[in-house]
C-alpha cells in the first residue's frame, strides 16, 4: 500500500490548484483520475478573468494548445424574450476559451504532483489519523494510505457520496446538455457567450462558437427530455435571432448541482476529507465553475498546509479559509449585491442603465418571469435570508455548510 501525505481525487483545475499548493509545501501528493489523461471534459471553457489570472500566476502563460478557437471571449450577452439584448464586456479584457481536455492536463502536470490516471476512486475509510483510499486501476483493486484526502471530482462527486451517502437525495439535480452544430448562418457575435433569460427555453440556455461550430446548450431539471428541449432552443434561435444551423454533429451532457451556491448549502467534507470545486457546490452565476474551482481547490491545499503547520483541525482551517470564496461565489447570487455592488466580472448594472427606460422595464420584467421558473425549488426565502444577513455578519452562515 502506497503511503502519501495527500490523495486528490479528480484531475481537474480544482485538483491542480490544490496539488500546486501541496507540492510547493513539500507534501507528497498523488492525483487519482478515473480516465486516461488527457481526458475529455464537458464544459463551455469560458474562464472568468479571475480564473485566468490564477492560472497565469500559478501555472504560467497558457500555451496555444490549451485554447479552443476563438481563443478568447470578450464578455457575456444576455438575451430576453422581449428581444432586448445586453452585451457586457468582462472587466479587465478578454478571457480564455479553454480546451478543458488539454488545459486540465497542462495544469495538473505543472502542479508537480504525481498523477495516477485510469484509477477509479471506489471508497474511503477515515481512521482518524489517516485515510485508506480504495481504488481500481485497470480493474485491479489498489489501496492508498494518506493523511488527508481532497475530493475535487466534479458535481457528481464519488468522494462526496462516500462521506455523505444521502447527499444526492438532498439537493435538486439538473441536466445540462450541449450539441455542436455546423454553422450555416449565425448573426450571434462569436466574441461573446450568449445566455437566454427565457423561461420557455430552459433553466439555463446558452450558445457560443467553438472551433468553427456553434454550441447550443440547455439545462433543465433532471427527468426532462434533452432532445426535445434542445430542438426547442434551436427553433427559437432560428425564429428570433436568424441563427441557421446544420444538424448536430456531436452532443454531450452531464448532471449539475446547481443550487448550493445560491442558498449557501456548500459541502466541505468531514474528518480528514475535504471537498472542493463543484463537488463542494461552487458555481458562479453564469454557470462558470472554473474560477471558483481553482480558488477553492487552492484553499483546500492551503488548509492542509496550515493545519499541519499550526497543528489544528483541517476542517476548522478549511472552513475558516473558504469563507472568502463562499462570499465571492454566493455574492453573485445575492440580489442586494447584484443591485448595489458589482459581484460579477462584468457590469450588469451599467449595461442595464445603458438601455432606454422602456427596455430596462422589459428586462426586469423578463428576469422576474425567469426567476419564477425556479419557484418550485423554494430557494427564494433562503436567498433572501442570506442576503439580509450578509451585511451584518460579513459573510454567509457557516452552520448551513456540511
Amino acid at each position: 500500500m502506497r503511503t502519501v501525505d495527500v490523495i486528490i481525487v479528480g484531475a481537474s483545475l480544482s485538483a491542480a490548484a490544490a496539488a500546486k499548493r501541496l507540492v510547493d509545501a513539500g507534501l507528497e501528493t498523488i492525483v487519482l483520475e478515473r480516465q486516461a489523461l488527457p481526458r475529455h471534459k464537458i464544459c463551455s471553457g469560458i474562464l472568468s478573468p479571475r480564473g485566468h489570472r490564477f492560472l497565469l500566476e500559478n501555472f504560467g502563460p497558457l500555451p496555444r494548445e490549451v485554447l479552443h478557437e476563438p481563443v478568447s471571449c470578450k464578455g457575456v450577452t444576455f438575451h430576453f424574450p422581449s428581444m432586448v439584448s445586453m452585451p457586457m464586456d468582462f472587466f479587465g479584457g478578454t478571457t480564455p476559451h479553454l480546451h478543458r481536455k488539454f488545459s486540465d492536463h497542462w495544469a495538473i502536470q505543472r502542479s508537480g504532483a504525481e498523477v495516477h490516471d485510469q484509477t477509479s476512486f471506489v471508497g474511503l475509510q477515515d481512521n482518524g489519523d489517516h485515510v485508506i483510499v480504495k481504488a481500481r486501476k485497470n480493474g485491479e483493486p489498489v489501496e492508498y494510505r494518506a493523511r488527508y484526502v481532497i475530493g475535487a471530482d466534479g458535481p457528481s462527486s464519488p468522494v462526496t457520496r462516500a462521506i455523505y451517502p444521502d447527499y444526492p437525495q438532498s439537493i435538486p439535480w439538473f441536466f445540462v446538455g450541449q450539441k455542436f452544430h455546423e454553422i450555416i448562418e449565425c448573426p450571434l457575435d462569436e466574441q461573446y457567450f450568449h445566455f437566454w433569460f427565457h423561461p420557455g427555453l430552459g433553466h439555463y440556455t446558452w450558445s457560443h462558437a467553438r472551433d468553427g461550430r456553434e454550441i447550443v446548450g440547455v439545462g433543465f431539471k433532471r427527468g426532462d427530455n434533452f432532445a426535445k428541449k434542445h430542438l426547442n432552443v434551436v427553433n427559437y434561435l432560428s425564429d428570433k435571432h436568424g441563427v441557421r444551423l446544420g444538424d448536430p454533429l456531436d452532443d454531450e451532457g452531464c448532471a449539475e448541482n446547481f443550487g448550493p451556491s445560491l442558498i449557501n448549502r456548500y459541502v466541505f467534507g468531514k474528518g480528514n476529507v475535504l471537498v472542493s470545486g463543484q463537488a463542494g457546490g461552487f458555481l458562479n452565476m453564469i454557470g462558470e465553475g472554473m474560477s471558483c474551482a481553482l480558488h477553492s481547490g487552492a484553499i483546500s491545499g492551503e488548509a492542509i498546509v496550515e493545519a499541519r503547520l499550526r497543528n489544528r483541525s483541517v476542517q476548522e482551517m478549511y472552513r475558516r479559509m473558504i469563507a472568502s470564496e463562499v462570499r465571492r461565489t454566493s455574492d453573485q447570487w445575492n440580489p442586494l449585491k447584484i443591485a448595489f455592488d458589482r459581484p460579477h466580472e462584468a457590469d450588469f448594472p451599467a449595461a442595464l442603465m445603458a438601455l432606454s427606460w422602456r427596455d430596462r422595464a422589459k428586462v426586469l420584467r423578463d428576469m422576474w418571469r425567469f426567476i419564477v421558473l425556479y419557484k418550485e425549488f423554494k430557494w427564494g426565502r433562503e436567498i433572501f435570508k442570506a442576503a439580509m444577513l450578509r451585511p451584518f455578519i460579513g459573510g454567509y452562515p457557516m452552520k448551513h455548510w456540511r
Binding site: A25, L62, P63, G92, G93, M321
Partner: protein, 536 residues
C-alpha cells in the same frame, strides 16, 4: 484547430518540469495566446513559481560535501524555512546551508552556477510574498554570519556580518555607547536583507532609509567572487546590490554609519483626519522641525502623529516654532472629540469600543517604566521593535505598502485606507517620510524609491489586524493586489520588506528599465540561480 498529437508531445517534453527547462526565459514575459486585451494591465507572468524538481541535486550536494560545506537535508531542517513572515507562500528547499563565511558562500554559489541549482538567501525571513521561500534548490540561511566585526567610535562606523539582526547590532553598539542611524521597524530583520530592500524608521525623514547608511559592503557575487565594494570601489556592483532585491550578490559584510547614543523625548499629537496629519507630517519634515517623525493609526479613526528629539535644544526649538502650527490634539482634547463623534453616531459604538480597548492596551506599552528615564525613552529599539510589533503585527504579517512622491501621498493613503475598510474590520496604518540623498540616485534606480520622488519619498504600510482570524491566501492576496494596484495607478513604488514583486515590476518601472537590469542580471548570474523569481 487543435493539433492533439503535437500537444501530447509538448506535454511529454514538459515532464518532468524543471525551472531549467521552462520555455519562458526567467525575467521575461511569456507569450499570451489569449489576446493582447486579456487581463489588461497585468503582465503574463507566473508569480507563484513552479517547484524546481532537482535533477542535478545529488551531484551538487556531493560537491558541497567534498568542499566541506554542511548541507542539511532532513525534513526538520528544511521545514523550518517552509514559509516567511507573510505566511501565504510555502515552499521546501532540497537542502539548507547555514552561512559561516564568505569563502563558504562563494564555494556554494560556484557549485550552484555549475549545476544550475537555485539559491534562495534568507536573513530574518520577514518578507511577505515568498521572496525568501525556496521552491526547491538550496536555502542559504545568513543568520550564521551574525558577528559585529569592528566598531570605530572615531569614524562613527561599524563593520558587521550581513546575517546579524538589527536588535543584536543595536545591543552591541549600545555597549560602546553608540547607536544605529536608521533601522527597519521590525528589528528581527537582518542587516544584509535590509540593505537589499530599504528599511524605514521614524528617523528616515531626516536620515534616509537603512540602505542609505551603508558605506561599504563585502559581496559574494552570483558566480562566487568575493568583492569589496562602495561608492568609490566597484561602484557599479555597490549600486546594484544596495536596494537590489538580492539579485546581484549576497551581502556577507557591511560597513554602516553609526552615531553616539542619545535618549529620545517623544510627543504625540492626535488627529481624526488622515489628510491633516499627513500635511502636518510633511510640514515638519520639510522644515527639519524634528529628529524623528511618523504616523501610526488605529484605522482612520485615531491618527497619531509622533515626533521625537535627540536633544533638549531641538525639542525647545520645535515647541517655540512649530508645535502651535500642528492641528492635532492632545490626549484629553482628542478624547473629547472622539466622545462627541460617537455620541452622534451610536451605530458605530463597536468601533468606539475597539478604539478604547486599543488605547488601554497600547499606550502603557509605549511608556513602560523600564524603558523610560526622566520622561525620555532610553531604548527605542525595544519600544519600537517590541511594542509596535506586539500590538500591530500578528503571526501572519500582511503588510502591503505604497511609496510615492510627497505630492501623491495623501491620495495614495486615502485610497489605500478605503481598500483596508473593504477587506478588514480593523487595521492600522504606518506612515513615514524618507529623506532622499541626491548622491545615492544611482542606488535608487528600480528600487522602492518612487522614480518621480524629489527630496522626500513617503511610504505607507497598510496592515490589517488579523488576530486569531484565518483568511485564505486569495483573500489576503486580493487585498494586497488592490493596494499595489493603487501604486501602479499613481506611478508609485513599494517600500516593502521584500521590495518589489515580480508581478508588478514591469507595470511600475516599464520594460526599458527592467530589461536593462535584466541584462545586467544575466551577465552577473548566467544560470539565473540567485534569488530566482523574486523580481525576474
Amino acid at each position: 484547430m487543435i493539433h492533439q498529437e503535437s500537444f501530447l508531445e509538448f506535454l511529454h517534453d514538459m515532464i518532468p518540469e524543471t525551472s531549467d527547462r521552462t520555455s519562458i526565459e526567467p525575467g521575461t514575459v511569456g507569450p499570451c495566446h489569449v489576446g493582447s486585451d486579456a487581463l489588461i494591465g497585468i503582465k503574463r507572468q507566473q508569480t507563484n513559481p513552479t517547484r524546481w524538481i532537482g535533477d542535478s541535486w545529488q551531484a551538487f550536494a556531493d560537491v558541497l560535501r567534498e568542499n566541506g560545506i554542511e548541507l542539511r537535508e532532513s525534513i526538520a531542517a528544511r521545514g523550518t524555512f517552509a514559509t516567511d513572515a507573510g505566511g501565504t507562500a510555502y515552499g521546501m528547499p532540497h537542502g539548507v546551508v547555514i552561512a559561516r563565511s564568505a569563502a563558504q558562500v562563494s564555494a556554494l554559489l560556484k557549485a550552484a552556477q555549475q549545476y544550475r541549482v537555485p539559491v534562495t538567501v534568507r536573513g530574518g525571513g520577514l518578507i511577505t510574498e515568498g521572496e525568501s521561500v525556496a521552491f526547491g534548490g538550496v536555502l542559504l540561511d545568513m543568520t550564521g554570519m551574525s558577528r559585529v566585526l569592528h566598531i570605530d567610535t572615531d569614524a562613527l562606523t561599524v563593520r558587521t556580518e550581513g546575517g546579524i539582526f538589527w536588535h543584536s547590532l543595536a545591543e552591541e553598539l549600545r555597549r560602546a555607547n553608540m547607536d544605529y542611524l536608521s533601522a527597519p521597524l521590525n528589528m528581527t530583520s537582518s542587516v544584509g536583507g535590509t540593505l537589499g530592500v530599504g528599511g524605514i524608521d521614524v528617523n528616515s525623514p531626516r536620515l534616509g532609509c537603512s540602505a542609505d547608511q551603508a558605506l561599504a559592503l563585502q559581496v559574494v557575487t552570483p558566480t562566487g567572487d568575493i568583492v569589496e565594494c562602495s561608492d568609490t570601489l566597484n561602484a557599479e556592483l555597490f549600486q546594484r546590490v544596495i536596494l537590489g532585491y538580492g539579485q546581484f550578490g549576497v551581502i556577507t559584510e557591511a560597513t554602516l554609519k553609526i552615531r553616539p547614543y542619545t535618549p529620545l523625548r517623544m510627543h504625540y499629537f492626535y488627529y481624526d483626519s488622515l489628510r491633516s496629519a499627513i500635511e502636518d507630517l510633511q510640514m515638519l519634515d520639510k522644515n527639519d522641525a524634528s529628529d524623528y517623525s511618523g504616523i501610526l493609526t488605529i484605522m482612520d479613526c485615531a491618527v497619531n502623529l509622533l515626533v521625537a528629539f535627540d536633544s533638549d535644544e531641538r525639542e525647545a526649538a520645535f515647541k517655540a516654532n512649530w508645535q502651535a502650527r500642528l492641528r492635532g490634539h492632545g490626549e484629553f482634547g482628542f478624547a473629547l472629540c472622539i466622545a462627541g463623534r460617537y455620541a452622534l453616531r451610536p451605530w458605530k459604538l463597536g468601533e468606539a469600543w475597539f478604539l478604547f480597548r486599543r488605547k488601554r492596551e497600547l499606550f502603557p506599552e509605549l511608556q513602560r517604566a523600564e524603558y523610560m528615564r526622566d520622561g525620555k525613552m532610553v531604548d527605542r529599539t525595544v519600544v519600537f521593535s517590541r511594542a509596535v510589533w506586539k500590538f500591530w503585527g500578528g503571526k501572519q504579517m500582511v503588510i502591503p505598502d505604497l511609496a510615492t512622491s510627497s505630492e501623491k501621498f495623501v491620495e495614495a493613503v486615502e485610497r489605500g485606507n478605503k481598500v483596508c475598510r473593504k477587506y478588514f474590520p480593523h487595521y492600522t496604518l504606518y506612515l513615514v517620510g524618507i529623506k532622499l540623498r541626491p548622491e545615492h540616485k544611482a542606488h535608487y534606480e528600480m528600487s522602492c524609491i518612487p522614480p518621480d520622488a524629489e527630496d522626500w519619498a513617503y511610504g505607507c504600510e497598510f496592515e490589517p489586524m488579523i488576530g486569531g482570524h484565518v483568511y485564505s491566501r486569495d483573500h489576503l492576496q486580493s487585498f494586497k493586489n488592490a493596494i499595489y494596484d493603487i501604486g501602479v495607478d499613481l506611478g508609485g513604488s513599494y517600500y516593502r520588506f521584500g521590495g518589489m514583486m515580480k508581478g508588478y515590476i514591469r507595470r511600475v518601472f516599464g520594460d526599458e528599465v527592467v530589461d536593462r537590469h535584466l541584462a545586467m542580471k544575466r551577465r552577473a548570474d548566467p544560470a539565473m540561480i540567485l534569488n530566482r523569481d523574486v523580481i525576474f
